[in-house]
């Protein structure tokens, strides 16, 4: 079996201008941020970003002008950093189009793709103006309960990118702690890319195959970038680099350049 391991540059080249890209993790935790920065270095444009709770990732991509559209549930820097400022500006000035979701409606759309069905019902939503905004359909229960339910159309990302703790040479991937929405993203996207903290021998995966989140055959390419979720956390390996986030948020032209140059993948 041939190795799935490639360089970060090669991995990122699977993402083209105009692609819809699902990003793993949540807010400042275990996001595939090395790939996000590499997209900026590669000058990618017109991306559609799909994530229930993006923050740093979508903010830096908006700041670099790489985003055309966002499909998201909640967007913030979190930690104690408040709103995502460049994302906010991009939405307010119309540079980026937003499809606003509840996190679970985005998950429902991903499930529709993962389950191969034309729509996925979701509980709740009643009374929310998001339904009309997104032109979601409300269907009556054909089994006579008298209730109705909102159904979400399939969301099928061109690419899903996740950051994991460990990968095998063949591309099997596993994470420690919560999986966020990484599982459903890797089941709904056309292409799956994995960035890992480290490669481990396949014997370690064989010893505990229940821990594997993504089996090799679903993974198109993988790369190893130690610290790649910086400035966010990747438990249990490292926590949020609060100073780096603060530096990133300084609103001058040099801070983005400095930020990109300081990233772990630039240092290696």
């Amino acid at each position: 079996m041939t190795s799935k391991l490639v360089s970060l540059v090669e991995l990122t080249s699977h993402i083209q201008d105009g692609d819809s890209v699902a990003l793993g993790g949540s807010f400042l935790h275990r996001g595939p941020f090395a790939v996000v920065r590499e997209l900026i270095r590669a000058g990618r444009r017109d991306l559609e970003i799909i994530k229930q709770s993006p923050g740093y990732d979508i903010d830096v991509l908006c700041r670099a002008g790489s985003v055309r559209r966002a499909r998201a549930g909640i967007v913030a820097m979190e930690g104690n950093f408040g709103l995502a400022p460049w994302y906010r500006k991009a939405i307010e000035n119309g540079a980026v189009e937003l499809e606003e979701h509840a996190c679970a409606t985005l998950t429902a759309g991903l499930r529709a793709s993962a389950y191969g069905v034309p729509f996925q019902p979701i509980a709740g939503v009643h009374g929310s103006e998001l339904a009309a905004l997104n032109k979601w359909a409300e269907l009556p229960d054909p089994y006579g309960s008298g209730t109705t339910v909102w159904v979400i159309p399939p969301i099928r990302p061109d690419v899903a990118v996740i950051h994991v703790n460990e990968v095998t040479e063949q591309g099997d991937a596993r994470v420690f702690g919560t999986t966020h929405w990484d599982r459903i993203m890797t089941r709904s996207a056309r292409t799956v890319l994995v960035v890992a903290e480290r490669v481990v021998d396949e014997s370690e995966f064989r010893a505990r195959p229940e821990l594997t989140l993504v089996p090799h055959f679903l993974v198109d390419a993988a790369c190893v970038v130690p610290g790649g979720a910086w400035p966010g956390s990747c438990a249990p390996d490292y926590g949020i680099d609060y100073d780096a986030v603060r530096d990133y948020l300084v609103d001058d032209e040099d801070s983005l350049t400095a930020h990109l140059a300081t990233a772990p993948e630039s240092r290696s």
């Binding site: 549930g73 909640i74 709103l83 509840a102 709740g124 009374g127 103006e129 929405w181």
Partner: protein
């Protein structure tokens, strides 16, 4: 104790008081106050309840309260990881007893706006968005929210946008606690350092206050638990709340 009850402590403590024995309670992203409230309830109250959080923790025992309410430290000591799809589904099927959800604007019906100030398509301010609110607010048995300012622009007559609608049970601000009576939010209690008139004046929607009274001051146990969670006052300073 009453007069120097800080607005920060007021919000955290009153959120904690919504936690009930043997229930399943959840705190999410961007939710430092509910996170602290749940951790406070675990420390201060003499009953068992299940605390789920967005980091995947189930009754965790974190060594400290993290600045990010989705920090993996909130899984410390957990015996299981209950990840996002799982707790959303739990809520959707009616298994979540108490859910804490953020809000930028709240109306008298307990509906929330977390989407935008101004018109959605041309917002003056683009807000974070509701997270799970549009699904969780109607499906959780009870939801509670909080605002860090009590003003007519936070507690409004009419929302700029209805992000979520449904089972709002309680609202806590630095000076007041509202509880839903099935129709509308009614005032349950107010901060003993302000007057009822001040609460009325600073609230954008009309409310019933017939059964309201000054809020019971924090117990020694509640106060001690919060001191333990924020020993250096970092959360309190970051929040920067005023009465």
């Amino acid at each position: 104790m009453t007069d120097d009850w800080s607005p920060f402590s007021y919000v955290v403590t009153n959120l904690a008081r919504f936690v009930r024995p043997h229930e399943v309670t959840f705190s999410g992203v961007n939710s430092s106050f509910p996170m602290l409230a749940c951790l406070l309830a675990k420390k201060a109250y003499p009953f068992d309840f299940t605390y789920l959080n967005v980091a995947g923790g189930v009754d965790p025992e974190p060594p400290y309260a993290p600045l990010s309410s989705s920090d993996p430290v909130l899984t410390h000591g957990t015996r299981s990881i209950f990840a996002n799809e799982d707790f959303y589904d739990l809520c959707a099927r009616g298994g979540m007893d108490l859910c804490f959800l953020g809000a930028a604007q709240i109306d008298g019906y307990g509906q929330t706006n977390v989407s935008c100030i101004g018109d959605w398509h041309h917002p003056k301010v683009r807000l974070p968005g509701g997270g799970g609110a549009a699904v969780m607010l109607p499906t959780a048995r009870r939801c509670c929210t909080w605002r860090t300012e009590h003003s007519p622009r936070a507690l409004v007559e009419k929302l700029d946008f209805v992000t979520a609608s449904g089972g709002m049970h309680g609202v806590v601000t630095p000076i007041a606690v509202f509880v839903h009576d099935g129709e509308r939010l009614r005032l349950d209690s107010w901060h003993p350092a302000v007057t009822l008139e001040q609460v009325v004046e600073r609230t954008g929607f009309a409310f019933d206050a017939a059964t309201a009274a000054p809020t019971e001051p924090p117990t020694e146990v509640e106060a001690a638990a919060l001191r333990e969670l924020d020993p250096d006052g970092v959360f309190e300073r970051d929040a920067g709340l005023v009465l």
